[in-house]
């Protein structure tokens, strides 16, 4: 014979477990139905984003499937710290008729106004930038977030730039004597992005022969 207390404990436990099982079944079902679609959506979005950084007209391969890992522990590349990466990250190879036509490199500007700004830069074999995009940031809305293409066109001013255009001294904001605009009320964010991009170009030049033999 169960006492009243035991009875209520058993009842509450079974009901709670029942609800938990039902919720788990529903969530599993929804996940199973959506999983394939979600994976595909992410891949499509990634491919579209990469094709904006390295225009589809300048390569004929699928960038999402032609990637390699930059291992921050390895000494395979010289001066890998120029990219500012905090963990192993993917880079992408653009090819035309199997020949490498350029790369998309990940980089991090560590000295943003609110911490890291993650970027991807497309670089042609001749060292010119095909596109630069911010992939993650926590900069101030309305000020620093102007580096985001959804907010302003500023980041497009890097297109076709290279280490000769301007010379290295020009790779900062106008306020510091450079070639790139700062924003009204915000110098730190655009300067961080500009300096980090210049360093990524330096990394590309330092490792050119190795990177282009991929």
């Amino acid at each position: 014979m169960l006492s009243e207390l035991q009875h209520s404990i058993v009842q509450n436990t079974t009901r709670l477990a029942g609800f938990a099982v039902i919720a788990a079944i529903i969530l599993t079902a929804v996940f199973a139905i959506t999983e394939a679609r979600i994976t595909n959506q992410i891949l499509v979005a990634e491919r579209e984003a990469l094709n904006l950084i390295f225009p589809a007209s300048q390569h004929d391969n699928d960038l999402t499937s032609d990637s390699f890992i930059l291992d921050i522990e390895s000494n395979e590349y010289s001066n890998l710290e120029l990219l500012g990466l905090r963990e192993n990250s993917s880079a992408y190879v653009a090819r035309n008729n199997m020949q490498v036509s350029g790369l998309i490199l990940p980089l991090i500007a560590r000295d943003g106004y609110s911490g890291d700004i993650s970027l991807l830069v497309g670089i042609k074999v001749d060292g010119a930038i095909t596109g630069l995009r911010v992939t993650a940031h926590r900069e101030t809305p309305g000020l620093g977030d102007l580096v985001d293409l959804r907010i302003s066109d500023w980041i497009l001013s890097f297109n076709n730039r290279s280490l000769n255009n301007p010379e290295l001294a020009g790779w900062t904001v106008r306020k510091n004597g450079g070639d790139f605009d700062q924003f009204t009320g915000a110098t730190i964010t655009p300067r961080a992005v500009t300096l980090a991009t210049a360093k990524a170009l330096e990394f590309f030049e330092d490792n050119k022969s190795l990177l282009l033999s991929l």
Partner: protein
């Protein structure tokens, strides 16, 4: 029967939108409210999903209210709300990926919105499903209106503009950005978290001020003041 139903719905709406507004009176859901109200677009995104989750969680809680004992009430409600939010996130990711990219980061915040759990416990657990769903809709609108108003105020004072980047949320709505204050230098404080608290405080003060005006007006109308009002004529 019909009129009493109407009265009940009217009462629910008045409670949700004004007298017992989840954001302005109950002060529930402040965490997502203050975090996401830096622009109208962000506010709209969170408002939309929060309202949907409120409707469905209220409906579901009401449907199973007779199967739940007091001891397991809270864990079951949290389970229901968290499951709905997770389903919403998965479905949005699969079928509305561009919307997910713009407001997806706010969706987990909805679980932390006590306004939703609050409505489940205080209303949906004691009322029939349709009434509960209606209450969810109205409470969602009450929360949304404050969220959007706060977003608009902070966007105008912070950047001098309104509806910037609305196309992230509604792809067809391009160039709806309005410049309210031309050549505005920007007021960073309004966009940062302390600004959210300040503007929320101002909204609270405004609501209390309006309520006080209404009370004073009612007292004036009720008191038999012979020098004015229609009451005087009745007495004479």
């Amino acid at each position: 029967m019909m009129t009493s139903m109407n009265k009940k719905l009217k009462n629910i709406s008045a409670q949700a939108l004004w007298q017992n507004n989840p954001a302005l009176v109950q002060l529930l859901g402040l965490c997502p409210l203050l975090a996401v109200s830096s622009s109208v677009v962000n506010a709209l995104g969170l408002a939309l999903v929060t309202t949907l989750v409120l409707i469905f969680s209220n409906l579901m809680v009401s449907l199973i209210r007779h199967q739940i004992t007091a001891a397991i009430r809270l864990p079951v409600f949290v389970l229901i709300i968290a499951s709905f939010v997770t389903c919403a996130e998965l479905l949005m990711q699969a079928y509305a990926y561009s919307l997910y990219l713009s407001i997806g980061i706010f969706i987990p915040l909805i679980v932390t919105n006590c306004a939703i759990l609050g409505r489940a416990v205080t209303f949906a657990a004691n009322n029939s499903p349709l009434i509960s769903a209606f209450d969810g809709l109205m409470m969602g609108l009450g929360f949304s209106s404050v969220l959007i108003l706060l977003g608009a105020l902070r966007e105008i004072f912070g950047t001098g503009k309104l509806f910037a980047n609305l196309d992230i949320l509604l792809p067809m709505a391009t160039n709806l950005e309005i410049t309210i204050l031309p050549n505005y230098p920007g007021f960073l404080f309004a966009l940062l978290p302390p600004g959210a608290f300040l503007f929320m405080g101002l909204l609270l003060a405004l609501k209390n001020f309006i309520d006080q005006q209404i009370v004073e007006k009612n007292i004036k109308n009720l008191s038999p003041n012979p020098s004015s009002s229609s009451l005087a004529e009745d007495i004479s």
